[in-house]
Structure formats: structure tokens, C-alpha cells
Symmetry: C2
Subunit: 356 residues, 2 copies
């Protein structure tokens, strides 16, 4: 894979925008997409001329590899608009690094940095009217790569397509969240693809999550597949636990996603002089802490929800509810993080990325 | 999901067959497809009218779930033609059962039996000229289901498409096969989706297999993700070992595919009064058996290759080569199995399925 070439981005714009048909006050997450998309094909051993074109259907042979062998990876990012109308992103280089790390594990060629940023920025500027300023408003950005080669031989494809599609989003609130600590099903094997944002990691969670929903849980806390002894992640969020005044989160590994919100929270905690421990967290430790009252908060961290407080959890036949705390870490971090994202406060970490 | 309805299969045929463009003596596996395909959509909570139509591209929204969350399962089957021109299949009910088992784990609605057999048989009869008689010739049949609903929310889709596509195949011979016993990467977690023919299980194997190829191995023998202590499967084949005159294969589990060729071989072994043991097989046992000469044969069993002899294996820094044996079980089973499949011998097990 060559990553030295500078692309001659080809841009084809829509004749008529669809933006007037969209009710920005009542957005269903991930259902409406902007006028344009970014597309780049990989064939004959290299990425071809990247293109921005009107958002439209993809036409693929029924034998295309993605349909059969799941060679597909993605990212989730957001763009924000500040009061002056500037477009901002949050640590986008990390998303590119991660999609390429995911791609490598799935035998997909890495995507060149120049193509990515040139395409992404041009797309955001072209669809700038879809990015609304104001608290909670954002543009959810979904880069993804799929194997498109026709043929059902089970081996890595020789042809791929890299896309960026964008969907306007409002502040994410899915209601009170209670989670089930899962001991039967597993999300990822040690030595597997759990650390990658590989498509199949997500599809494999839907059935266990549906079963948990029947028991009244909105999400699952996955535990290690070996012995179900340690807490891993929640599938679309990394997990944080406040035990007394110490914040605890599991270490990243080959079964846990290296979340960008996760690592930002770790830095923010240090910045706030909050003791943060990255270490294996035993299920029994959580249960014990819930019982003795030292478990003050639990929350998930991820791009879509930013920080998602967890109200309670179930483990085997027991249910635990957390009391509201006055000086919530989740609220503190959410405010500090979104103030940086929306350009409402200083950015001592240099996380903001201005689209010029 | 309703499975009681009898479909009114809709058939649209090609105006001009592509069969004259195909060189049936030089087929690349899984690259050429027959004139028609079977398609059935799932929406509004039920499978719609199934259709046979000319083989053609699929058009999907870029946000379709299969591209992002890997909700996709498949099967591999074969049709054969005997000397009298009859079309035969091999235990096709088992493939339907398995795709529905896979579907359930991936939160995909099950497909009705009536639709499946009506569609499959009509398709085979319509494309009968693509099924060549003669040793080794077959039609490889690929049923698959993909999540097609547009939208990037990470939850089970509400819309799906079920397809059957068919590709003419010759006798499969991929050259001498040597395998690597893998101790770093893993294929499947206990509690995961390894027993399902879920798309992501395959894409996750390509990178480790590429690394093994650099060391001179054609395939990987996966071991359990917990301790890499027991042999599991080869990713597209179940594994059999002949130790002295006893045939040994690992038990099926939630990390190992319940192979139809595998279970047929177990029955065939019993029929031949060969001692067969279904039990966990330790890596150390294989290494020991290879060293002391009691490991007489290794082979893989799967639909595509039927039986694929394994010439040698690598474990850590050691390489083991197997001597040819005169009374090979692999050769015996392959002849008995293909004689049944091609209607060259009696079928005491009632495995053949005649398409009328």
C-alpha cells in the first residue's frame, strides 16, 4: 500500500440539496445522511483517485467478499460547529490510526493519511450546513472500509472501497442505562479481533443483548472469555468505575477497544487530580463495592454518547442500583470534554482539530 | 418469523445465457456464477415473496447494516449430476438447519424451509446445464443472508436479504497442505460465534493465515483461545487425525463448526468398523504421536474440498512431515463419500437428495 501519493480529489456535487427535508430537532440517530459521501477504491494494489459524490447506493456483486467473509472495519467520529461557525473535530488522527490498525488485523490495506484528511475536510466543508452549532448538536462521521472483490474463495480480497458518510446528530440520551454482567456469552477471544472495530464484533453482540433486554438491561458488560472473571467493555463503550474517589478502568488489550474518549478521560482525570487506575477490574470487586457502598459511579465512554452514566447492574440473580452522587465525575468529565469539543473552553491537550 | 406460508415463487429468466462464455475445464473456484440467483427480502417482520432472477449486482445504501456490523451468515453446499442427468444434493436439510442456527446467533430471522427448498430446486433446474456430470465436477451452492437496513445505529437490523448463488466447480486440489498449529492468534471465543458460519469468523482468519503462509503453511490449525492447549478446526475444515488405526476428531462446541462432512465421516468410519473417537485432542498428543510415528494421517473435512489430506504441520519451531500410508483412511472416505454424492454406489445412510 502506497501512502506517499497526493490525491487529485475528484468532487461531484448534488444538483439539489436534501437538507430542507430534514427536521434537525427530531433526528433519529444514524438514519439521515448528508448530501455527499467520500469514496475511494482499492484495486491493482493501490488506492485509486478519491472522490466526493452525491450520497447514493452502492452496487456490488452478490459474491462480494464483505457479504460472505466480513472483511469490514469502521470508525466513529464527530464534527462540531462553534459559535463562530468554525468546523471542529476531536483527535481525528487517532481515528485514522485506529481504522488502519483495525484494517491490518482484518487483512485490509491501510488507507493513506493524505487521502483521508483531504477527503474528510472537503466533505465537511461541502456539507457544512448539515453541522449545527449549539449544545449536543454534531455531525456523526462514519468512515468504513469494505472488501468488494467478487468471488467466494475464502481469502483476503484484492479490491476494497473506503467510504466516509455523515449523519447529523443531536445530544444522545437513551434513557437510564442498566447493564448486565455477562458470564455465558463472550464478545472477544484473546488473540482475536476484539480490539479492532471489525464489523463482526458488533453483529455478534446483538443476540446476547436482545436476551439481556428481556431481563430489563439496556446493555451488556462483557467479561473475559477465559473465565468471566474480569470486566472488559460494553461493546460500544469503554467502562469506568468510581470506587470511593478513585476512578478505575480496565487496561486496553487485544480484546478491548482502545477508545479515544476513554484515553481522553484518563488524561482529564489526571488534569483534575483525580486518582485514576488502569488495571484489571474483577467482577467480584465491583459486586463487593456495590454492596459496601464504595461504588459511587459507573459510566461508559464512547464517541456516540460521549459519557453514558450507568444507573445499575445485574450480576447473576442480584441487581444493584447506584445512588446519585452530588459531585459526579461523569458530569464533570462530560462538561469538560464537550466544552473542549465545542470550543467553549481552552484546549490544554491540543485535542481540537480545526477544519480550515 | 413465520415459516408456515407457502411461497408463490416469482421467476424471471435471462434472455441470453452466459454459459457459452465459460471454460468448464479451467474453472477458478468461486469466480464464475450461473445465470440465475434466488433472492428473498425480509421486511415488516416477515419474509416476502421469493424470487429467482438473472444474476445481478445488489444495490444497497452505504449505511446498510452488513457493511458496518457484520450481520451476515452463509452456507456452502454442492449439487452433483449423475450419469443419467439427475441432479443430486448431499444432506441439504442440514445446511438449512445450520444457516438458521447461525442466523439465530447473529440475531437474523430464520428462513422458512419451504421457501428454501422450493427456491433452491427451481434454481438448480433452471441452471441445470451449469451442473456437469463426471468425477469432481459439481455446482458449489452459496446460500447467504445479509442485513440490509439503512442506518448506523448498532443494533439488529429490521431488514434482510436471503440469497442463493451458484458457481460451477471442479475437483478441488490446492496442492500439498501443511498447517501451522497457532498459539498466538485465536479464531473463536468460548461463548462467541465460532460455531456459526458468521461472516466475521472468516475475515478474522485472513491476517494470521497470511503470516503463516510466510512461514510456508497453507492453513492454520486453530487451538482453544483459553490456553491453546486443544486443537479446534482449520477455519474452513474440521480436522481428523489417525493415530495408529484409530480415527480421532475434536468434539463440536460453541467454538467449532458442526461440519456436515465431519459428521458424515464419523458415520462412515463406524460403517467401516474403524474406531472413531470424538474427544478433545491435545496439541501435545499430536506432537508426541508425530514423534513416535503413531500419527499416520491428518486430514481436513469440509464441503469445498470434501477431504483434504494434510502432509505436515508446524508447532513452535518444529516441523513434522507425515509419511504416505498405503491404506489411507482419507482416500477410503473420499471414495465412499463421493460415490454416494455422485450416485455411483448405494446410499445406506440416506444422505442423497434427488431434485425432481
Amino acid at each position: 500500500m502506497k501512502s506517499t501519493a497526493i490525491s487529485a480529489l475528484h468532487v461531484e456535487t448534488v444538483k439539489q440539496s436534501r437538507i430542507d427535508q430534514v427536521d434537525f430537532d427530531n433526528l433519529d440517530f444514524g438514519k439521515v445522511f448528508t448530501d455527499h459521501m467520500f469514496v475511494c477504491e482499492y484495486k491493482n494494489g493501490s488506492w485509486q483517485t478519491p472522490t466526493i459524490k452525491p450520497y447514493q447506493s452502492i452496487s456490488l456483486d452478490p459474491s462480494a467478499s464483505v457479504f460472505h467473509y466480513g472483511q469490514a472495519v469502521f470508525e466513529g467520529m464527530k464534527a462540531y460547529k462553534d459559535a463562530e461557525g468554525q468546523i471542529l473535530m476531536f483527535r481525528p488522527e487517532d481515528n485514522l490510526d485506529r481504522i488502519n490498525k483495525s484494517a491490518k488485523r482484518m487483512a485490509i490495506p491501510e488507507f493513506p493519511k493524505e487521502y483521508f484528511f483531504e477527503g474528510l475536510e472537503a466533505l465537511l466543508k461541502l456539507d457544512t450546513d448539515w453541522i449545527k452549532s449549539g449544545a449536543g448538536n454534531s455531525l456523526y462521521i462514519r468512515p468504513f472500509v469494505i472488501a468488494t472483490e467478487a468471488g467466494v474463495r475464502a481469502s483476503a480480497a484484492q479490491e476494497y472501497m473506503f467510504f466516509i458518510i455523515c449523519s447529523p446528530a443531536q445530544s444522545y440520551y437513551g434513557g437510564e442505562v442498566r447493564v448486565k454482567i455477562e458470564e455465558h456469552f463472550s464478545r472477544a477471544a484473546s488473540g482475536g479481533v476484539g480490539y479492532a472495530k471489525a464489523a463482526g464484533n458488533y453483529g455478534g453482540q446483538f443476540y446476547p443483548t436482545q436476551l439481556a433486554a428481556k431481563e430489563g438491561f439496556q446493555q451488556i458488560i462483557w467479561t473475559d472469555a477465559k473465565n468471566h472473571e474480569y470486566v472488559e467493555e460494553a461493546g460500544t463503550m469503554n467502562l469506568f468505575f468510581r470506587i470511593n474517589d478513585t476512578l478505575v478502568t480496565g487496561p486496553t488489550s487485544d480484546t478491548i477497544l482502545d477508545g479515544i474518549t476513554r484515553k481522553s478521560l484518563i488524561e482529564l482525570a489526571r488534569h483534575n487530580n483525580i486518582t485514576i487506575e488502569e488495571r484489571p477490574v474483577k467482577v467480584t470487586e465491583l459486586v463487593e463495592a456495590a454492596k459496601n457502598g464504595s461504588l459511587k459511579e459507573m459510566f461508559g465512554a464512547g464517541t456516540a454518547a460521549v459519557i453514558n452514566p450507568i444507573k445499575g447492574f445485574g450480576f447473576r440473580d442480584e441487581r444493584f442500583e447506584l445512588e446519585d452522587v452530588p459531585n459526579s465525575y461523569a458530569s464533570l468529565f462530560k462538561k469538560q470534554l464537550t466544552d473542549i469539543q465545542y470550543n467553549l473552553d481552552a484546549d490544554p491537550f491540543e485535542w481540537r482539530y480545526l477544519v480550515k
